[in-house]
Symmetry: C2
Subunit: 119 residues, 2 copies
DNA sequence: TTGCGATACCTCAAACTTTGAGGTACAAGC
DNA sequence: GCTTGTACCTCAAAGTTTGAGGTATCGCAA
């Protein structure tokens, strides 16, 4: 099911995390999501459409998102909402992110100490 | 000088950050560094040698690190230490990392609010 | 009424990162 | 003599992200 063969210890996962989180708050379409990420991170992070759309398609294919085709006037939109499976994935993503942040902070703050490590 | 053409908003940079930080604390050789990352992040992050060595080589080529070839017994080692240029890069890396963490946290904590954003 | 910019979708090559497995060689212990 | 650990290294493959390209509709202003 999961085509993830490797066990990536890091691998960012940030765009995916933000997508799941923001869509869990409010269903949106892709273009809106790109703007929302920019707005919600106070311009700190900017992911282009070329990054977001493929992730959206993949998450939908994996059953994490439910995309509903809508016509507003003569314009087409795909509004995505998070499925229960997607919510579980979100929880996992948040936990992963916190683990990474904790690990990096632990390293940055900790004034070496510990065992002298090797010679 | 910097062959970095793009303006990556994210791009992790975590291995590089940890390398510069740990070497600023204490000069080490590559193999030791791999173990040190594991130890200092309490096993939270594990970067293989295939990830670390190329970064070490690149940072040395860029003048961020100064690698000294040593012979211990009959064994060869390359002990790396951070140059002044590398320290400046470290400061930049830390700032980048904090910015990313702040942005993601801002997004995760902030209960939407802000403008209703688009229709 | 033509042209522009914004909205909205999409794709793709190229650049870059990281994994996982491969290799060499020496030293120590069993 | 074999295995394990140290220490260096490389590379293909998989993955991510960028930046630029494309289509089409809409509303506004010149």
């Amino acid at each position: 099911m999961s085509p993830r063969k490797t066990n990536p210890p890091f691998r960012s996962g940030v765009p995916e995390l933000l997508i799941l989180h923001l869509l869990a708050e409010r269903p949106m379409h892709g273009y809106e999501l790109v703007q929302a990420i920019l707005a919600h991170t106070a311009g700190g992070l900017e992911f282009g459409e070329g990054c977001i759309y493929p992730i959206l398609h993949r998450l939908e294919a994996e059953g994490m998102l439910d995309g509903r085709r809508q016509s507003v006037g003569n314009r087409n939109r795909v509004v995505y909402r998070v499925t229960p499976k997607g919510r579980r994935e979100l929880a996992r993503s948040v936990a992963d992110w916190r683990r990474v942040v904790a690990a990096v902070n632990h390293c940055l703050q900790g004034g070496e100490r510990g065992q002298p490590a090797l010679a």
